[in-house]
């Protein structure tokens, strides 16, 4: 895909309502700016997402995914552990497709974790400035061809 100068790589943030989403609201209440190429979707617990979900996001043109879960503060039994399992299982599948695994990151963000939230977003944005759009690096695995 030819690079559109106006278009920036997109960061999807899957943020738990009990943690990262409220943390993002706290950042907003502080009126602290961060890049506009960030799109936050609320989730009850990201353990709902299978590996295919993340792969599909990349295929659709999402350039990076930050999963902001509640870590040990999660109200869901086993949710954080399963989220970690699903993400760990996604990494080799990303590699198969030539996707830089740094594009998918799991971070524990609490309701008042404003600095960690900004740090995660800034780091991912900086990374994307270096590695660019996901579509430019994706390959179709042989098994799929």
């Amino acid at each position: 895909m030819a690079e559109n100068k106006k278009h920036k790589p997109k960061i999807l943030i899957l943020a738990t309502i009990s943690g990262g989403y409220a943390g993002a609201d706290s950042v907003g209440q502080l009126h602290t700016d961060y890049p506009t190429n960030t799109y936050i979707l609320p989730v009850l617990c990201p353990c709902i997402f299978p590996e295919e979900f993340y792969l599909r996001c990349f295929e659709q043109g999402i350039d990076a995914i930050l999963v902001m879960y509640s870590g040990t503060d999660s109200p869901y039994k086993g949710g954080p552990e399963r989220t970690a399992v699903m993400i760990n299982q996604t990494y080799p599948l990303m590699k198969e497709r030539g996707i830089d695994t740094r594009r998918l990151r799991l971070a524990a963000i609490c309701t008042v974790c404003t600095k960690p939230f900004l740090k995660e977003v800034t780091q991912m944005d900086t990374l994307l400035k270096g590695i660019g759009f996901v579509r430019d690096e994706m390959t179709i695995p042989e098994a799929v061809q």
Binding site: D25, L30, H31, L41, F49, Q60, Y76, G78, V112
Partner: protein, 682 residues
């Protein structure tokens, strides 16, 4: 609802999806950074969107009426609003659509304020383009919304109040008076909290303990209130209407038959925390005369297990903690505050004996209410310096952090009036003293509080105003000086002149700090604000409520407050409890798993990963004349985490209201390059 089925089946198959999209200006909070009119225009062209509007304030009566009118007159059957955070107004708009006859779960909320306009200053195009993607994603989800019914569960008409200070006591009494059973637990052996440590309190100048005693007697004698002192929460599970609480209670250690004799016995002494270490008390003690419960308690942290001679008999006291369980429908957190403890050397604290905190001076004066001669550290006090804002309004990078690395940048609000109240008391009781008040700003914001400032002015209290970045300096006076301490400050009331006041006593007006309740916060899954006090959802829209349904705040656990404000918050908390539990039934969002029996092949992967007992089970059902195994969800036991969803290879199980299809649709919309639709000026 005993069993959950695919909500799509509940839809009328031929129903045309007609979406109303509403983009809120939020009085400029959103429209200053996002071109809301452009968002409205772009939304109009999306499939299924019948109407797209903007409004200065969608949450206003007029804004909500607009939505209701569209539902009734234009046949809108799905609604999406882009506005402030969902935590603030999602419920409001669900109520709006319900009033117009629509299922409340056919509503979707997009946060455009906290997550776009407030974090995108100076990038009008970027913020507007982001809003377009977020709203388009919202519309994509809205298209797939299905009507849902809330889960209705029987609620325990029983509330747990954590904290036996004035806020907890008031909450307990007001809740019990509404017919709800209350269990009040207090970590320390005595009720009363911080208020019991005060003398006369503003704005009425009533005696704190006398006022408190009346309240305690009413609470203790109420048939619907049970009190446990020396008790704390060790475990919480369940949800609104049905919380299971584990309590650990330490023994009191003293039988009533020796209650009086034991106080006369010789035994080790420790610094008395009630008097902020100014005095000592015995390891078996009463917090103060007239305290409740009246039976003394053993201080287990300091009692060494050695026999104490009581009535001539050597007696050993044993702590036999007991654990017990409670079932409650709601929890009120009234864990209070602690006064800021200055670090050693801060304004000479702990280095100069003549430097004390305001709470210490209050206790000191309470210990001898009749004296008309003020002495401190063995010498008469003629000159007193009061310093405001100690441990409050600090700036990171400017002021030195506390021992825990934190900087209190908030105003504790109460200390200005408390300091002026003290200045007036000193003036009345010790008329010959000279009183100097070093302040940054005077914030006597409460009704009647300004009177104390006026009275202090009339009473010849001398005010010196310092700047926040040039706070007063407290140093030891040179040997042979007439006073032990010197306070230096640049007085902006005298055009920045360097002033030096020789003082016999320096009083630090310390701010309020949140109580250490880390474990409780984790157990309850409630939030803290950036000031580290417990956070309510919204100060105006959902006061005293936390984001966790059924967990409510009362008093200074949520921030600095006067007694008057604490009591008002406590009464508000009691009303919230009554509203929640009064009907004996609570409604939960139906965001739980459901199974599509046509896709389910009975492989059981969902059951393997589920951590909730009896949430999913395999049942034999007959399909096309064949008996087959299919997963079945029991909604009341399902937490809605979605672990089962990622485990199912057939996408046969999903979470109502948060389906994978809905996420896929939102992702597709976010991935769209909408930059070309931007027509707004850069």
């Amino acid at each position: 609802m005993s069993e959950s089925t695919n909500p799509k089946k509940k839809e009328e198959k031929d129903e045309e999806v007609r979406i109303g999209v509403y983009t809120c200006y939020c009085g400029g909070n959103i429209s200053d950074a996002v071109d809301c009119e452009h968002v409205k225009k772009v939304m109009t062209d999306l499939p299924n969107v019948v109407v797209s509007r903007t409004d200065m304030s969608m949450c206003s009566d007029a804004g909500q009426a607009l939505i209701e009118k569209d539902i009734k007159e234009k046949g809108i059957n799905r609604v999406i609003v882009g506005a402030c955070a969902p935590s603030l107004h999602e419920q409001t708009f669900r109520g709006t659509v319900a009033r117009a006859g629509l299922n409340p779960y056919l509503y979707h909320h997009v946060g455009l304020r906290e997550q776009d306009s407030w974090v995108s200053h100076g990038d009008y195009r970027g913020a507007t383009c982001k809003a377009l993607n977020l709203m388009t994603a919202g519309v994509a989800k809205t298209r797939l919304l299905a009507p849902l019914e809330p889960i209705r569960l029987e609620a325990e008409k029983h509330a747990l109040v954590i904290g036996g200070g004035v806020a907890g006591l008031r909450t307990a009494l007001d809740t019990a008076r509404r017919g709800i059973q209350v269990t009040l637990i207090e970590k320390s052996p005595f009720l009363g909290g911080r208020m019991a440590q005060l003398g006369k309190v503003f704005p009425t100048d009533e005696d704190a303990c006398a006022t408190l005693d009346k309240l305690i007697q009413k609470v203790a004698s109420h048939p619907k209130v049970t009190i446990f002192t020396q008790a704390e929460v060790t475990g919480v599970s369940g949800y609104v209407g049905d919380y299971q609480i584990k309590i650990l209670q330490q023994s009191r250690g003293i039988n009533n038959d020796i209650a009086e004799a034991v106080l006369d016995a010789d035994m080790p002494k420790v610094p008395d925390a009630f008097n902020y270490g100014l005095t000592e008390r015995k390891v078996i003690y009463k917090a103060y005369p007239g305290c409740y419960p009246p039976t003394p308690a053993v201080d287990w942290a300091h009692y060494n297990g050695e026999p104490i001679i009581v009535n001539g008999q050597p007696t050993i006291f044993y702590n036999k903690p007991k654990n017990f369980d409670l079932k409650v429908g709601a929890i009120v957190v009234a864990t209070g505050f602690k006064p800021y403890e200055p670090r050693a050397g801060e304004y000479g604290y702990k280095e100069l004996p003549e430097v004390v905190t305001l709470p210490q001076l209050i206790r000191y004066l309470e210990l001898d209410k009749t004296t008309r001669t003020l002495t401190w550290a063995g010498r008469a006090v003629n000159d007193i310096a009061l310093i405001h804002c100690v441990g409050s309004r600090d700036t990171e990078g400017v002021h030195e952090p506390q021992a825990d690395g934190q900087v209190n940048n908030y105003c504790s609000r109460v200390c200005c009036t408390a300091t002026l109240h003290m200045a007036n008391e000193l003036r009345e009781r010790f008329p010959d003293t000279n009183i100097y008040d070093f302040y940054e700003d005077i914030r006597t914001y409460g009704r009647g509080h300004e009177t104390y400032y006026q009275k202090a002015l009339e009473g010849m209290v001398r005010f010196l105003r310092y700047r926040g970045i040039e706070r007063p300096e407290v140093v030891a006076a040179p040997e042979g000086d007439t006073h032990p301490v010197l306070v230096r400050a640049k007085d902006s009331l005298s055009q920045g002149e360097e002033m030096e006041v020789a003082a016999d006593l320096v009083v630090l007006a310390v701010g309020m700090m949140p109580t250490q309740v880390d474990e409780l916060v984790q157990m309850l899954k409630i939030s803290r604000g950036v000031d580290r006090f417990l956070a309510e959802v919204h100060p105006k829209l959902r006061p005293v409520e936390t984001a966790v349904n059924g967990v409510i705040l009362a008093g200074t656990a949520q921030g600095p407050m006067t007694i008057q404000e604490s009591v008002a918050a406590a009464s508000a908390a009691a009303v919230k409890v009554a509203v929640l539990l009064g009907q004996g039934e609570v409604q939960l969002d139906p965001f739980v798993a459901y199974v599509d029996p046509e896709k389910c092949d009975g492989n059981g992967a969902c059951i393997e990963v589920c951590k909730y007992e009896d949430a999913i089970k395999m049942e034999t059902v007959t399909i096309n004349g064949k008996d087959v195994k299919r997963a079945v969800v029991t909604p009341a036991n399902c937490a809605g985490c979605g672990g089962c969803v990622s485990a199912c290879p057939n996408r046969a199980i999903d979470i109502q209201g948060w389906t994978l299809d809905q996420y896929d649709a939102m992702v597709d919309a976010i991935a769209l390059d909408l930059w070309d639709l931007m027509e707004v000026p850069a």
